[in-house]
Amino acid sequence: MTEDTLEAPQREKRDRLVLRFAGDSGDGMQLTGNRFTDASAAMGNDLATFPDFPSEIRAPAGTLPGVSSFQVQIADWDILTPGDAPDILIAMNPAALKAHIDDLETGSLLLVNSDAFVERNLEKAGYETNPLEDGSLDSYHLMTAPMEELTKLAVADTGVKGRAMLRSKNFFALGLVSWMFNRPTESVIKWVTNKFGPENVVAKANIAALHAGYNFGITTEEFHHLFDVGAAKLDKGQYTNITGNQAIAWGLIAGAEAAKLPLLYGSYPITPASSILEELAKHKNFGVRTLQVEDEIAAVGVALGGSFAGHLGVTGTSGPGVALKSETISLAFQVELPLVIVNVQRAGPSTGMPTKTEQADLLLVMFGRHGEAPLPIVAPATPAEAFMSAVEACRLAVQYMTPVILMSDGYIANSSEPWRLPDTDEIADMSRPFATADGSEFLPYSRDPETLARPWAIPGTPGLEHRIGGLEHANLTGNVSYDPRNHELMTKLRADKIDRIADSIKPVEVDGPESGELLVVGWGSTFGAIRAGTRNARKAGHSVSHVHIRHLNPFPSNLGEVLSKYDKVMVPELNSGQLALILRAKYLIDVISYPKIQGLPFKAAEISGKVIGILAGTDSEAGQ
């Protein structure tokens, strides 16, 4: 090798690459993955990430349950998912190798921290012999580096001592991988310096390890698999890399602003929703009030109280919390006040698998209230889209005086993707003036002729003193009423109001032919896998289209017509067929349900495989 090649090695161009970092939860894999992602974003790649971590804070080091991983796909075109199988797996210890090796296709790259493959760790991971030596990895392209030893050497002068020296080994790995995939290290260095301060010893150690890893790549012959992924041809604009929970937090702030209301967020921490509260808590200068209260019932209670007083009351949680809030949501529905309820779904039932994703709360939010209490439901398809979904949820709540469900899930919450920054000035004004006294009798349950929304008269307004409550009340006056006909009327009015929302929402858009053999219908976080899977199938010559529903109640008004244009309809869901059930009931179509209940997102290949199977008639599994 000449110096020249060292400086500018030959790199194979790829249009996309999937990397998976895996290690102990103490090894900093999430951080490593995120730094790599940011560097790639800055290079203009399109990308999508999938963090996957255990629910224990720090599960015992070296064990399988303790493994934490972070997958990222980078591409020079607009990809839709973090990728099905990794092109390279970076394994920091035997447990990480064991937990992930089955996902790796033959011939793929495998980069291993060889120092961790000592007897104790092998035993903890359940290896009887050392896989680095016993030939079991022969079908992969195995590369090893003694990362611990090299890290120790690298940080020796930085002032970090003893076992703490090893903490930087993830930066060593990051450096090495950065070299392999031609990522600049500047953004990482900047981040470390910002986080710890330039003089901090930890910062110094991390930077030293990073350099060491990078240089190790340059100087070591073994690492000749060098790839490069060019910038994606994304739409013009400014981009940031964003996770779903961040997008929801920011979207709520933007929604409140567009509604000209202060935001009051009541919550009780719960995985994977807590980071919305944590993000919002940082933005008090926007006038955002975050109330961490005693439980989920109090959380929705304070949000409802906030709305009564003229704020935009929002509460966020996950499935167990939604269950607890049900009674209060029913009250909010009955008193017809704005309220947004964010459900970041996780795998259930009960505590289930809190750090894993699932979509099994759809019927809960649709039907899980006593009495007739339909609610609008909005569901983003991707992390970036969650911003505008949150804005939309705020719009519906304020414009229609109703609680609104915003359905996200653990996958959207934690994954990230580049988000083309919207021009926030263009978010439509969605404020609705509070009622004021005009001399005539105030009727708290009179209605806007178009939206059927009732007036919002907030305490403190002279002359509009009135009482609302959970008992059934007379139309217009709101006085308590047990009149049978009135109850029927009010029940219908409340339902009609929700149905009318269909007039103000976008019709569904079809990706693929407007009619044909098969339509795949999805909702929520399955978007990327379904879009990629159906496109792949279409490229392979199959007649398949994709519709993704963002409004789950009411449905966009063209949905029924669209469904009717295809011979078959298939609904992939991370549950046992909940949207399928609703579509069947509503449109009497023999929808084929494709359930996956593993706490994991769909892979694009699963979708295309299913599509092809159905079209070939080899997959005869009908609905339900």
């Binding site: 400014q238 008090k284 006038g287 009564f308 305490p459 609302i468």
Partner: protein
């Protein structure tokens, strides 16, 4: 009549009052309406939030803003109201079941947070609206439909519980004593932060005469211990009894048997709540000598004010929020 801004009728809504004839709730309603009429505060700046129960029908009858919410949750909803708009006076009306049974958790948390709400706990020691089951303040052994062999549950002492929940204002009054009720309302109203007033309220249908020892012509003088700030605690028709507080708690003695200096001088604003707690233990319900009045009244910044204060500080430090900057705060790159 002085020329107050309002009269009682300004606070009477057009809804027919629907409690049982003779219910103590009527008296409390009158006391509250009359009290509100004495204030300068505009009526549209009062809000009444209640849960479910006979007591919780209260907001319907007061011509201010109000919400008749769901069972037990009024303190939470009121927290939202009070935190959103600290200019409002937020009243919570609740029963012993509503506040202490299903709503117990919200009560204790609202107290420790010192949310600026005025909580009127109508304690009739029974579930009225659901027709007479025992409540968390019903006496041991009480026979009701759900406890035909007698209740086994040691009742709460609501004042003890509130004091231990870090409450800054705790008082007790009696429905029939409208003057005293008014004094307590006034003090609670003036208190900045959470105020709890336990109001002994007669349910003449399911638990009649529960408070007769404090209201009966013959019994009341012997049993009613009036708590007055700065005063040594004496009671009885001729002040023949007194209260002493020491390392064993509070106890009743014959005034004659103790030195005046040993009689406990009531200090509701003592930062240490121990004496207030000790006084709350003098009775465990209205079954003998029972303290009436303000147990505790101390200052601590209210929750709503503090929340507001943090917004102001954040604003001062970071300037007004700008959504354009916010979405760029994590760094961004440009594609052109």
């Amino acid at each position: 009549m002085t020329d107050t801004k309002y009269t009682r009728s300004d606070f009477q809504s057009d809804q027919e009052v629907r409690w049982c004839p003779g219910c103590g709730d009527y008296t409390i309603l009158a006391s509250v309406q009359n009290f509100l009429a004495t204030l300068e505060k505009d009526k549209h700046n009062h809000v009444f939030i209640s849960g479910i129960g006979c007591a919780s029908r209260f907001p319907y009858y007061v011509d201010t803003y109000g919400m008749h919410s769901i069972h037990g949750r009024a303190p939470a909803i009121a927290t939202g109201v009070a935190t959103a708009n600290p200019d409002l006076t937020v009243w919570v009306v609740s029963g012993d079941g509503d506040a202490l049974s299903i709503g117990g958790n919200h009560l204790i948390h609202t107290m420790r947070r010192n949310v600026n709400i005025k909580m009127l706990l109508f304690n009739n020691q029974i579930y009225g609206l659901t027709k007479g089951q025992y409540s968390p303040t019903s006496e041991l052994g009480k026979r009701t439909k759900t406890s035909p062999m007698g209740s086994l549950d040691q009742p709460f002492n609501p004042t003890s519980l509130a004091i231990a929940s870090e409450a800054t204002f705790v008082a007790r009054t009696i429905d029939m004593d409208r003057n005293h009720t008014t004094k307590m309302l006034q003090a609670a109203y003036e208190h900045d932060g959470a105020a709890l007033i336990e109001i002994y309220q007669n349910c003449n249908v399911f638990n009649d005469k529960a408070f007769v020892q404090l209201t009966g012509r013959e019994e009341r003088d012997t049993n009613r211990i009036n708590l007055e700030a700065g005063q040594p605690i004496k009671f009885g028709a001729n002040q023949e009894f007194a209260v002493v507080v020491d390392g064993n708690g509070a106890r009743i003695v014959a005034t004659a048997d103790v030195a005046e200096a040993d009689i406990h001088v009531h200090n509701p604003s003592n930062p240490d709540p121990s004496a207030a707690f000790a006084l709350s233990r003098l009775s465990h319900g209205p079954y003998g000598p029972t303290p009436i009045g303000i147990f505790r009244d101390v200052n601590r910044p209210s929750y709503g004010d503090q929340v507001q204060q943090q917004l102001v500080e954040a604003h001062a430090k970071k300037g007004p929020g700008n959504i354009k900057d916010l979405i760029r705060s994590g760094g961004f790159w440009t594609v052109d």
